[in-house]
Amino acid sequence: MSDLLLGVDVGTQMTKGVLCKPDGLILASATVSHPTNMPKPGWYEQDAETCWWGDFCRVVRQLLAETGAHSSEIAGVGCSSMTPNTVLLDRAGAPLGPAILYCDSRSIEIYPEVYQFISEEQIIARNGFPLGAHGGWQGGQLLWIRRHRPEQYNHAVRMLGTTNFLVFKLTGEFVADYALAHCNVPFYDQTMRTWSLPTCQLLGIPVGLFPDRVGYSAEIAGMVTANAAKECGLLEGTPVILGAMDTNADMVAAGVTEPGDVGLAYGTALLGAKCLTQPSIEGAYANDYVVPDRFLFGSGVGTGGALTRWFRDAFGLPEVEAEARGGPNAFSALSELASQVPPGSDDLIVVPMFGGRRVLLGDRVAGGTVMGLTTFHGRAHLYRATLEGTCFETRRQLESIAPWVPVTRVSSVGGGTKNRAWTQIMTDVLGAEQHCFPETAGAPYGDAYLVGIGIGLFRDFQSFRLSWARGGYVVEVDQQAHQAYNRAYSLYLDAIRFLQLERAF
């Protein structure tokens, strides 16, 4: 019987895959690490063929070997990836040079050229984002290649991102889901949900470079070809869905489906997203989501787990040493320390923008800030205030997104959800019950679920919560702490206003 669902996510450092039963039980998971090349400062590259596709094949073979499943038991395949990445393909479908990654900053120099032909306002009107938002887009990467690697550009017939490349390798189809197509700013038109012909003409880019079809993530892109089957070990004819971007797949795995749902990912960066039924609200723009007519308004505190790690490394020497001697985990010990301090940290305020912001909501803040310091405050205060700062910032950003849509449910994934002190503070700051899934496989799990939607195994996205939202724990609101945080939060907002005065800083 073929009912197993395969999900694979390509991240910056590794490719992860899971093989799931229709009820969400994970039969096996597999991970393959891969390198990122940094040929110059600010340049980040990977090899599409050996790294993206090669690791996909390795993960699939590992999963089959580990479960003993036959490839015929796999009902469908779904992929997701980091984005926006760019690779150009020649007539034979082979990559022309290394792929440029999302974190690469080289295309910034291209923006003035773009603005000669099309204004920033026009780009924002079509896509909601200017060229430089989120560190840059595939459009900029393409134009950089045209200027500096003409030998590649002149032979290119296609340009793809990571997920799209894997789907092409599997099926021979050039497709993208709405969210990944959107990453081709300025050559996409979010309002029309297709490629922007006027922009392509103005900038002299043939529209044929871009995928032939754009749709929802769970739609079937095609079937595994004989060639691909030979390389990766899947059965020829296995259905493949369009695939997703990693953050969307993460939110699927967190169970975000309905308007008012909020998903939090406690990763290196703390990401939050609120699900709405409209693509834009004043001052903010959405990504297309995987659920039809649902849009995710994302926010990023910027530093989440990176901040707790910073604290451990900069201030947590006693805990790190104790852990090395066989004591408790340093993060648990620090959480214990934080619990000695009352909610609100005795008016100590930490503004957590230690690494700049990932998403700009019309304001700019550079640098983390510790305010309200007195000689009464110690290390425990600073740690608690640091955790609280990330939660205040999350609340601030979520409140700026359609405040008239009440938050119905908060679901959280990521390594940071193991930190009970942190999730309790978040719940009490937001004043909303939180469902945490520390053990979820994340994006590849979401991919596997999307496959089930695509092949018609599930009727709608509601089914996720029935059996796929597994394990985890629920954090209830402590009303007394919530009241204390409401007061501390107003202090935090004042501090933010202060920092906004300091743009020159």
């Binding site: 305010m371 000689t375 290390r379 202060f498």
Partner: protein
């Protein structure tokens, strides 16, 4: 006695220090005893004097002088026994009385500058203690009373000025309970026989009138000269310039005649949590077991500007800038570690002093050098940062605790070995190290100071709002 020993005694908040000096200011003996409560002051001073004189010929002691913390109000009965705990100089409880007195007497009195408001506070809030009091005394005058059996009010003309009798009468205070004044630098009393036995001092040793710790340390570093600035202190500190006229400005909290030379004025302001900021960072925030010296050494390897990190050192507010003011770290990134924070604290405290310095400059003061003393001056790194931030040579005195030397110089004047306090100070105080500003760093810190000032201005506003908000939320 051509080569007398001069004993300087500095009653601090945590320790009492005694130093024995030659007429040239050479240290011949030194001791320090940790104080617990005020009841330990008298036993501790005797212990410290004995320890200081242990290796010396006590009969050579020509004179002693006592000064220290103030204005602290001490109350004693007719047998010179302490009544209750002293009300220390940093106790704010008489603030209302201070502003009331300022209006009634038509001159500015603050709880930091005078103990009179504390007397009025006692009269109102502790009438029993007030009624039982024989003498209202400064802390050091209490020790003089114990040593000599005579009650005197030393240091008239300084900032701890005793009050004209007419004033006391107008306030309804019994003037007989305030001792008669003894002029700074003159013999005020002599050591009585029983005290001589207990302390090891010769009976009849002259006790020369001294004063507060700022006066003492100014004497001890040779700071009473036009154009000499001082930034002394450990936990809390100040930045002052000696100038030939009073200077007015935003950051200038005081401008008062120098008790050492009536033609000069001490103009400046406080940095309430100077060294305390560093202690707090090391002990409470970093909770570090590492040695002070190692941590400071690590801060030396961080470039000026602490990689974008700025520290505002107002951990306990600052009366003349804003009581709600608090400390802050601004511009933190994931790359910052302890050494950055330590350097930021050293820089922040120095920049806070520069705020006062720039007000002094704007008012027409022209400092030529800054003498630093006290705990902060032990750090070579900090001294160099100060020189670079202030753009002025920074000088450290030859002894770490100049308070005792200053008292000894006053004692030498009282015995007539010097014609004036100024003369004594100039001959007995010596400098040790000079730190010169480095052009490149000084230019950098000039920019950094602009940023600091701007941040501070906004931060004062924010803290005022936050203070208001906290109050509202508590209501």
């Amino acid at each position: 006695m051509n080569d007398p020993l001069l004993l300087g005694i500095d009653l601090g908040t945590t320790r009492i220090k005694v130093g024995a000096f030659s007429l040239q200011g050479t240290v011949l003996g030194h001791s320090a005893v940790v104080l617990t409560s005020a009841h330990s002051w008298w036993p501790c001073v005797k212990q410290a004097i004995r320890a200081c004189l242990q290796e010396l010929d006590a009969s050579r002691v020509g004179a002693i002088c006592i000064g220290g913390q103030g204005p602290t109000l001490v109350t004693v009965d007719a047998e010179a026994n302490l009544l209750g705990e002293p009300i220390p100089y940093d106790d704010p409880r008489a603030a209302i009385e201070a502003s009331d007195l300022s209006i009634r007497l038509g001159r500015n009195l603050s709880v930091r500058g005078s103990y009179l408001p504390r007397v009025v506070w006692l009269q109102k809030h502790d009438p029993d203690r007030y009624a039982a009091t024989r003498w209202f005394l400064q802390a050091w005058d209490y020790l003089i009373l114990k040593l000599s059996g005579s009650a005197v009010a030393t240091s008239p003309g300084g900032i701890y000025d005793p009050w004209p009798r007419a004033d006391l009468a107008r306030l309804g205070l019994v003037h007989e309970r305030f001792p008669l004044p003894a002029r700074l630098g003159t013999i005020a009393a002599t050591v009585a026989s029983n005290a001589a036995l207990e302390s090891g001092l010769p009976e009849g040793t002259s006790i020369v009138a001294g004063g507060g710790d700022f006066l003492l340390s100014t004497m001890g570093v040779g700071g009473a000269q036009k154009g000499v600035a001082q930034s002394q202190g450990g936990a809390s500190s100040a930045f002052t310039l000696c100038w030939d006229r009073p200077l007015q400005g935003n950051e200038i909290a005081w401008s008062i005649p120098s008790p050492i030379d009536p033609a000069l004025y001490n103009c400046g302001g406080p940095i309430t949590t100077g060294g305390a900021a560093l202690d707090w960072l090391m002990r409470d925030l970093l909770d570090s077991g590492a040695e002070y010296e190692d941590l400071l050494g690590s801060a030396a390897r961080v470039a000026p500007g602490s990689d974008g990190l700025v520290f505002l050192p107002y951990l306990a507010g600052e009366e003349h800038i804003g009581p709600h003011l608090r400390g802050a770290f601004l511009g933190l990134s994931l790359a910052h570690r302890k050494p950055h924070m330590i350097r930021a604290v050293l820089e922040g405290v120095s920049l806070a002093a520069k705020s006062i310095l720039s007000s002094l400059l704007a008012a027409g003061g022209q400092p030529e050098q800054v003498i630093v003393a006290g705990g902060q001056s032990r750090s070579v790194l900090w001294n160099q940062i100060k020189a670079d931030v202030w753009g002025l040579p920074v000088v450290t005195p030859s002894i770490e605790d100049p308070g005792c030397l200053g008292a000894a110089a006053i004692a030498a004047t009282g015995l007539g070995f010097y014609t004036s306090l100024k003369d004594a100070s100039r001959n007995m105080a010596h400098s040790a190290c000079h730190f010169l500003p480095r052009a490149e760093q000084a230019a950098f810190y000039q920019e950094e100071f602009r940023l600091f000032t701007k941040l501070l201005r906004h931060h004062v506003e924010l803290c005022r709002e936050l203070g208001q908000l906290s109050k509202d939320a508590t209501l």
